[in-house]
């Protein structure tokens, strides 16, 4: 199956980008996107990190929209 290596590489790159977006998102961005998260502790932020890495384009768009609203 010649498509296996490119598929895994693409998946790896997508998840790496997800971590690059996800880590700052759970640290800061989530507070802007959802006010209920502003007071939340590290445990919650770590728990949502895998989902943030998987759905990062969606969250990045939300983060940018929230930043535009507040700027």
């Amino acid at each position: 199956m010649p498509w296996v290596a490119p598929l895994l590489t693409a998946l790896g790159l997508y998840l790496a980008a997800g971590l690059l977006v996800g880590i700052p998102f759970v640290a800061r961005g989530v507070n802007r996107v959802d006010p209920a998260a502003a007071q939340s502790a590290l445990g919650f932020r770590l728990l949502i990190l895998p989902g943030c890495a998987a759905l990062w384009p969606l969250l990045l768009a939300k983060w940018l929209r929230a930043a535009r609203r507040t700027s």
């Binding site: 296996v4 007071q39 770590l46």
Partner: protein, 351 residues
């Protein structure tokens, strides 16, 4: 129903549920491993790695069947409803057990570091030994991706921020994940079986689940067709005295959301049947401590106004309701969520 997100909103029920779940998983793995060693002793027995791969794989498969059976079972018999309460922990556990299965497989077939493990498995290493065999590993890989997406978005944060429509659609992928898992097992592990026991068990599981969902769907359709189709503003919602104290009757007004009519002593209240948290069936819940309590995750609403008790701010729609002789009449037009409504009063003789 929380003002600040926490990783898990622990309560006694959840702790007991998780203890039983963890005990069940560990007990099954130990039983499978020790049973395998006893039934197939060395030198012709299975290696430790193969036994563990199969123990985790079959455990994930059993958890997946339980996960999918709980919903329809709870609709048949309310005694199953407590299992719904913490279903997301069962789902996350299923993913984690499947993940260990995949880690063991990739490690084992990759020679534990001799070659890049994921590629070794996905490239169809076992299939290469049997020309013409299906690359069943790919099916398992995509099933795991689906289960990862579901497990990683199971927190309330995701429901709020993805919206209930997208969140629900994402989590309905469990059926695609189940189909992929069935094919993964049927085209993989079952190909080596000389006994009919495991294929029969897999058929029994899939057939049982399919039948459960089919019968639950048919019952639902029948219940809908029995609901009054009267055009008047007030719908006949059945006899006034047929609802047990603390429980609800669900009515299905044509072209409108379902309504749950709860009885609390002599008072009758009508509210939306849909919990705003995860669309749980409120009408299958009970009144606990004076509040309507969702059977899925314990979200609570005051029956007279559909508002969560302070400090929570969730609200559900309420409906006007009245008793006419021995019949209950419902106005199926939903009032704005959180609107206080005068309850209907059951006649003394009907209690």
């Amino acid at each position: 129903m929380s003002q600040v997100y926490v990783p898990v909103q622990w309560n006694r029920h959840k702790k007991v549920y998780d203890l039983i779940l963890a005990g069940g998983v560990v007990g099954y793995l130990l039983l499978f491993y020790s049973g395998g060693k006893l039934l197939f002793p060395a030198p012709h027995g299975f290696s430790d790695e193969i036994l563990l791969i199969r123990a985790f794989g079959t455990c994930a498969l059993i958890l997946l069947h339980l996960l999918l059976a709980i919903g329809p079972l709870a609709r048949f018999d309310p005694r199953f409803a407590p299992l719904l309460y913490n279903r997301r922990h069962l789902g996350v556990s299923c993913f984690l057990v499947a993940l260990v299965h995949v880690i063991l497989v990739t490690g084992f077939y990759g020679g534990f570091g001799v070659q890049p493990a994921p590629e070794a498995v996905l490239a169809g290493y076992p299939a290469a030994l049997r020309p013409g065999a299906m690359p069943f590993e790919v099916l398992g890989f995509f099933a795991l991706l689906i289960f990862f997406l579901m497990a990683s978005t199971s927190h309330d944060f995701w429901l709020t921020n993805l919206g209930s429509g997208l969140w629900k659609a994402l989590h309905m992928l469990v059926y695609a994940g189940y189909a992929l898992t069935l094919m993964h097992v049927a085209l993989g592990a079952l190909q080596d079986q000389t006994s009919a026991v495991f294929p029969a068990l897999l058929l029994l599981g899939a057939g049982g689940l399919g039948s459960l969902h089919l019968v639950a769907g048919l019952r639902e359709a029948r219940r809908r067709s029995l609901t009054s189709t009267a055009d008047a503003a007030w719908l006949d919602a059945g006899p006034a005295n047929g609802i047990s104290d603390g429980c609800a009757r669900v009515v299905d007004p044509p072209g409108a959301e379902r309504v749950a009519i709860f009885r609390h002593g002599r008072l009758l209240h009508a509210v939306s049947n849909v919990c705003p948290h995860q669309n749980g069936p409120l009408g299958e819940g009970r009144i606990v401590d004076g509040c309507i309590t969702c059977p899925w995750h314990g979200y609570q609403f005051q029956p007279h106004n559909g508002q969560s008790p302070p400090p929570f701010t969730d609200k559900i729609a309420t409906y006007r309701l009245k008793v006419d002789g021995d019949r209950l009449l419902l106005d199926p037009r939903a009032l704005p969520p959180g609107t206080p409504v005068e309850p209907a009063l059951l006649p003394q003789e009907a209690v």
